[in-house]
Structure formats: C-alpha cells, structure tokens
C-alpha cells in the first residue's frame, strides 16, 4: 500500500462520518486491473475517421471498427473480415467473401451491403480510393456475404488500399451510417470492431471510453498490427487527454495512467529511472519532418533558391531540436522514403550530406534573384514538432541573410492559410512545416506530399514532371526490382526539383507501466493483446 492509500484510509475513516457511507472509489481492486488507462497523442475531438483524418481519430477508430484487410508488421495485407477473395488475372474484377457470423455492436449482422456503402464513402476521401473510384465501373453486393468491385482498368494494389494503416483506413460501418455524406460527420459510432465506444462517457477534450465487445468474432491464427485475432484482454480502455506533458509524465510515474502514447524525449530519462515504467520506441517506421516551400511565388519558385536551402540546412539541428540528445532517435534522411523499408533509397540525396556550406548557399540564393523580400513562414505553436522546426528554420533563414516574416500561429490557422495560393504579401505563404508518419512514406501510393503535379499537388504545389514520370513507372512496376529502380528515380527527381525539403527522420517513444504487457511497436497504438496485472 503506498503512502497515499494509507493517508486516504486514515482520513477517510474520519470523513466517512458525514458522507452516507460513500467512500471508496467505485471500482474495486479487481475491476481496476481490468481497465487500461491511456494518454493519447492529442485530443479526440471528433470521431469520424473518414471525415476527419487526424491520426488520433484513426487510432481510436481502429478499436471500434474493423477492416476487410489489415497489414501486419511486414506491411503485408492479411485477411480480417474477409474469408476469401478472388480477382481476375488483369486485376479488373475483385470479389470478396465475408467471414460468417460477423456482428455490429448493436447486434445486427454485417452484410455485404454495409461493406459496399462503407467503401463507397471511404473511396471519396482516400487518395487510393479516389484512384479506384476514377476507374470504377461497379461496386455491388452480390449476396449477403459477397461483394464485387468491377473496374475499367487493373488495380493490383487493391488489398494494400483496403488494409493499409494510412488514414483514412477503410473501416466498415453499418450501411445507414455509411450513407452519411463523406463531407459531414457521422452521428453514430457503431462498428464491428473488438471494442465498443461508450458514447455516454465521452467528454471531448478530456476523456473517451471504450468497452470490450463480447460479440466480436476473432479470426483464427496469429498476427500483428492491424492483422490477427485482435483479442482484447481488458474490460475497458479509458483515454485521458493530457495536453501538458509534465502532467502526463507525473501521472505515469504515479500510476494514475498505464500507457502514454508519446512522452517527449526529454522526460524519458525520468521515466526510465522509475522502476515501474518501461520505455521503448513507439513506431519503428518513425516520422519524416518536412520543410515545405511554396513553388508558386518567389523566392522558392526558383529551383536555385530551393537548392540553396538544401545546401544550408542541417538536418542534425532540426532533429536535435525535435528529439533532444538521444542519438537513437533520429537519422539523417537524404531522401523522401522511410528508412528501414524495402524501397528506401538515398539516390540523388548528396546535397543533404556532408558539412554545410553556408557561403555556397548564399551565392546560389543570390543567383536565384533573391533580393531581400520577406519570407513568410507559418509556424504552428501548438504542435511541438512544427514549433521546433519553425524555430530552427527562422534561425537558418536569418543566417542566410533572408528576411524572415515569422507567423506564429496555431495548427488550425496553418491548415487554412497553407491552402491559399495568393502571393505572400496578400495572405499567402512561402514556408510551412509539417511531418509525415513513416508508414505514409513507404511508397508513393498514399504519399501526396512527394507528388509533383503542380496546381493539383499538395500544398506548395510543386511541379516536377520527372518525379511524376518516375512515380507512374512505379505504379506500373511488376516486381520489387522494378519498383526499387523506379523509386530511386523518384527520389533523384524529387531531390533535384526539391519537391519539399525533408528535415530528417525521427522516432518517438512510448511509455507504459511495468505491469502492462503485450504492447506492440507500430504506426498506431494497438490495444489487442494488451493486458494488465
């Protein structure tokens, strides 16, 4: 019994007198062991994983909704809700058969028409889904357990699209809910996943509660990440939102929470010193930091200015500002794809390697015609990752004798302003920061940020025909060797045209109490297989 319980017991004995016998917390010792208390990376403000694509929404949704397929830790899609699938040799016709006995949280069976409606909604918002939709001929439920997707062209990467971890995930919802317009939020949170969402106890910004769904039909066998039987070994999962890392750290040390999704690296030594806490890498696929430039307006509409940035920037400065002194947490990244994955390449990335040459960079910048105009940098202060990068960038640009217009604002405003194509003096921008989960940068399939389609591209609107040509070659590649060749070309082209400037590859930690077991490393926190006590 720790000191607090002793004190509590002593004082409660006195306080009991006037409290009608209400004293001890509602949960007895045994019940407490069956509740997992988790601190998520951000607030769960809304709960529609197709409409709102934040990572935190995806992470919570993975408990409540199930998918047709799920990737395992080798990034190979495995069958989840699907019992068997067939596709025509030209990859144009895909037929899926669901496992028997699948049920939603309200007791209704999962039918093919629910899947059809869910996929229809998902494909409007997801990049790969949009590609499928563009060549779609028909998506129908053949019978209660079978559905067929007929396309005009072959789409070999269908299983990947249906099982990937990149948001939005192709979650399966009841038809009535999936019929909601993809640009409006759903109102009900019923799924067929291993946990149900306890709506009555949801306090957006503070708490979200999930209860084990006993009607979940696990699939056979073993698995990892989004694949596998997804067995839940606690009764309840409580998410407590803590905006202040110091508070979360103290709570974890005190045993008031069990699992913290992303402790900041400076606090990790304190957690490590505590004999009751374990700390390890959260996601081996890590994250890629991004310094994104506006290709439409000066100075970064000139490739020389962009290259000057690559010449001058020190990925070590950025990464240290992000993850601190722990060298295990970052790697320099002379490329755009995730280290440690099959398609990783450093082709064309020499400009980011070696000692930094500030003078050469200044010369190149002058050659590009830069004459001292203000450079508007949008920096979100409420996201530690963008804030740290923004500070380093301001310093970098100053050392390049550039005139920095530092706009410190919040993530919401950055989201709005970065969509504007106006010239910087009239509400536009020249630089903003963000980051991409490593899982999203494994290949160009869901990797909007590396595309060079000009006006239709992601914010910054880079135009790089060489990159697009190489990406097309990747999509058409028949095997891994061909894919690797294509990706090397993508990397080189994207580097030469500086689609964006990667600031480095970094990892984050997760921390949990010693009495919790079964925690996996992965792109999102997986609650199956996790037990307490």
């Amino acid at each position: 019994m720790n000191r607090r319980d002793l004190l509590k017991a002593t004082l409660a004995a006195g306080a009991l007198a006037g409290t009608h016998g209400l004293s001890a917390p509602a949960l007895a010792q045994g019940a407490a062991a069956r509740t997992l208390r988790f601190v998520p990376q951000a607030n769960l403000a809304n709960f529609d994983p197709i409409w709102g694509t934040q990572y935190v929404v995806r992470n919570a949704s993975a408990m409540v909704w199930d998918t047709l397929y799920g990737v395992d830790d080798q990034l190979v899609p495995q069958r989840q809700m699907v019992e068997a699938e067939e596709h025509s040799p030209d990859f144009k016709v895909w037929t899926f058969r669901l496992r028997p006995g699948l049920k939603f949280h309200d007791g209704e069976p999962v039918l093919a028409k629910d899947v059809v409606a869910s996929l229809a909604r998902w494909s409007v918002r997801d990049p790969m889904g949009q590609m499928i939709r563009a060549i779609q001929q028909e998506l129908v439920a053949v019978d209660d357990r079978t559905l067929r997707w007929t396309l005009r062209e072959g789409f070999p990467k269908m299983l990947w699209a249906l099982g990937k971890t990149n948001t939005p995930i192709a979650f399966i919802m009841p038809e009535r809910i999936a019929k909601t317009d993809p640009f409006q939020q759903i109102g009900e949170y019923i799924g067929s996943g291993p946990m149900r969402f306890v709506r009555d106890e949801w306090v957006p910004g503070a708490k979200a509660v999930f209860q084990r769904f006993d009607g979940y039909v696990s699939r056979e066998g073993t698995g990892s990440w989004l694949a596998g039987p997804k067995r839940i070994m606690v009764d309840r999962v409580e998410w407590t939102v803590m905006p202040d890392p110091a508070t979360a750290s103290a709570a974890l040390q005190n045993g008031e929470v069990d699992w913290w999704e992303n402790p900041i690296s400076d606090l990790v030594p304190v957690l490590r010193r505590n004999r009751n806490i374990m700390v390890d890498i959260a996601d081996p696929l890590g994250n890629i930091g991004s310094f994104r430039m506006n290709h439409l307006h000066p100075p970064f509409n000139n490739v020389k200015a962009r290259r000057a940035i690559l010449m001058a920037m020190s990925q070590e400065d950025y990464m240290r500002a992000l993850v601190g002194d722990d060298d295990k947490l970052w790697k320099p990244l002379p490329g755009f794809f995730t280290p440690g994955t099959p398609l990783y390449t450093e082709e064309g990335g020499d400009i980011l390697k070696g000692p930094r040459d500030l003078d050469a960079a200044k010369k190149l910048l002058a050659e590009s015609g830069y004459a001292g105009e203000p450079v508007t940098c949008l920096v979100a202060q409420d996201q530690p990752i963008t804030k740290a990068q923004g500070d380093v960038t301001a310093d970098l640009l100053k050392r390049l004798d550039m005139n920095v217009d530092f706009v410190a604002t919040d993530w919401g405003t950055v989201g709005q302003r970065r969509a504007m194509k106006n010239p910087p003096g009239q509400g536009g921008w020249q630089v903003f920061h963000t980051w991409h989960a490593g899982a999203d940068c494994v290949n160009p399939a869901s990797y909007n940020a590396v595309r060079g389609t000009g006006d239709n591209a992601w914010f910054g609107w880079p135009k790089s025909e060489a990159t697009e040509a190489a990406i097309a070659r990747w999509f058409a590649a028949p095997d891994l060797e061909a894919e690797k060749l294509a990706i090397a070309q993508v990397n080189r082209a994207a580097m030469e045209d500086v689609v964006y400037a990667p600031t480095g590859f970094f990892l984050t930690y997760q921390g949990w109490r010693r009495n919790v077991s079964g925690i996996q490393k992965g792109p999102l926190p997986f609650f199956w297989g996790v037990s307490k006590g």
Partner: protein, 317 residues
Amino acid sequence: MASAHTAPLGLAPGAAAPSGPPQEVAAAAPMPDVLPAVKPRKGFVGFIRRHPTIAIGGFLLLVMLLIAVFAPYLGTVDPTALAPARRTREPSAEYWFGTDMLGRDVYSRVLYGARVSLIVGFAVALLSSVVGLAIGLVSGFVRVLDGIVMRIMDGLMSIPPILLAIALMALTRGSVRNVVIAITIAEIPRVSRLVRGVVLSLREQPYVEAAVASGTRMPVIILRHILPNTLAPITVQATYICASAMIIEAILSFIGAGTPPIIPSWGNIMAEGRALWQVKPYIVFFPAVFLSVTVLAVNLLGDGLRDALDPRMAKRL
C-alpha cells in the same frame, strides 16, 4: 456589478491600512492591543520609513527597468541564437541560467524578456488609463451616453479578462502589439468605471456647480476641477493594471496565445519550459522569479502610492 456604494473595486488588490491611526483616535483613548501607535520620522530616511512599500517597490522596479534597458551590455548573447547541439544544459559558469530545449541561453532570454514584460505592463497601464479616462469622462458628463456606455462596460467586465484576452488574441496573430491591445481592451472597463465614479461624485460639488453656473466652458471645468481629482486614483489603479497585465501576458503565453517565441518574454520562456519542469526546472524557475519580483514590485508601488496619495482611496479601490 459592484454597486455605487463601494464603487469600482476592480481587480485591484484590496486595501491596506494607513500606517498609523487617525490623529483623533490617538489623541483620545489609547487602545494598545488593537491599534499600536507608530512614531513618525523626518527626511528621506523618514520618507522611506513612512512609505517602505514605495521605496522597496520603486527600487525593485528600477532595477528591472535598468536590466531591460541595458540587457545587451550585461553579458548576454543573442537570445534567439539556436544551438540545438547544446540544448538543456544545466546552469554553469558558461551558461549562467542554463540553456533551453533549443540551446538558447536562458540568462539572455530572461534579461531580454524583461523588455517585453515591462513594455506590455506599462503600455497596457498607460493605454487603458488614457482610454478609460476618456470614456469615464464622457460617460460621467454626457447623461445620454452614460447608460449605454456603462452597459457596454459592464458587459465587457462580465467576461473574465483572461477569456476576453485569449479570444481577442485568437483573432490575430501573436505579437507584442496585439497582446497589448487585447489586454488593454480587457482592462479599460475598470478604469472607466473608476473615472465615472469620480466624475459623478464631483459633479454635485458646489464649486463645480458654481463653475457651470458662471458659464465656464466644459473642457475648462474638466481640466481644472475634475481631472486633478482623477489623477490619484487612476495612477494607483494603473499600477495594479500593470501588474495584472504582466501576469495575463504570462498566462496568454502559457496557453499559446501570447507573444511569438521569436521574441522572448518571461511568459513564453516559462511556457516553453513547462514540459521539462520536472527534469530541467531552471528554465521555468528563473523567469518565474523575475516575473514574480517585478509584479511584486509594481504591486508594492501601487500600495505605497495609494497610502501616500490618499488613504481614503483605499476603500474605493
């Protein structure tokens, strides 16, 4: 809202007592247990003895001002110079207050931070006093406008000042100017209420009525009779507003709605260091001490001024 009986109490700290019992009582029956007497002294030392709060407060504030003005010469480096390789170093001979999470020298940032906090404090105090004075005068004299203006002021006062400031900051981007404007707007109602109270009570005075009757023009009346009487309460109120503004700026930065980090202020140094409070407490500790001392100084100054200028004001404030 506060009724006319006890007029605008505002956010100002409550009253302190005069330093000695009123003369009549001391001459009448001594009550040693309840009100011990204090012996007055003469001269500068006497001044300090009689008004220790002004002395201490003034002195501390002066020190802070000097620090702010002479920051570049006090052994500081560029407060925004990053050196991520040297981040979170403990205080040492090289880095007197240590370095923060981006490798910036905390000592330099704290010293330069004095500028922002003091500028915010003084600017808000000055602006809100001037605008509040104008509004209060208008409201006190022009009956027609009085009702409307006071309703608006009451409305503004009933929104908690911090929420008001945050909301105003959310409208624009962070900068010292915007922080000053946001906090000023939140503090104006109090000043205007105070001034209006003075004006209302003075307007009934015989000499004012006489002036009006003899045809003196309004601006002259205001200048000669009203204004001098408002100066004392406004000055005292202004010092409290200054202290309040500095704290509000710190809170705004804490929440992330204050001055941008490229300009160090005590508030945002603390905000940035709060995550590391347990492991590197010095990042929060030093600016906290400086802020507390400065606010303390301003509060003491305000108390002392109030005692010196007019102890009867104590109740009204």
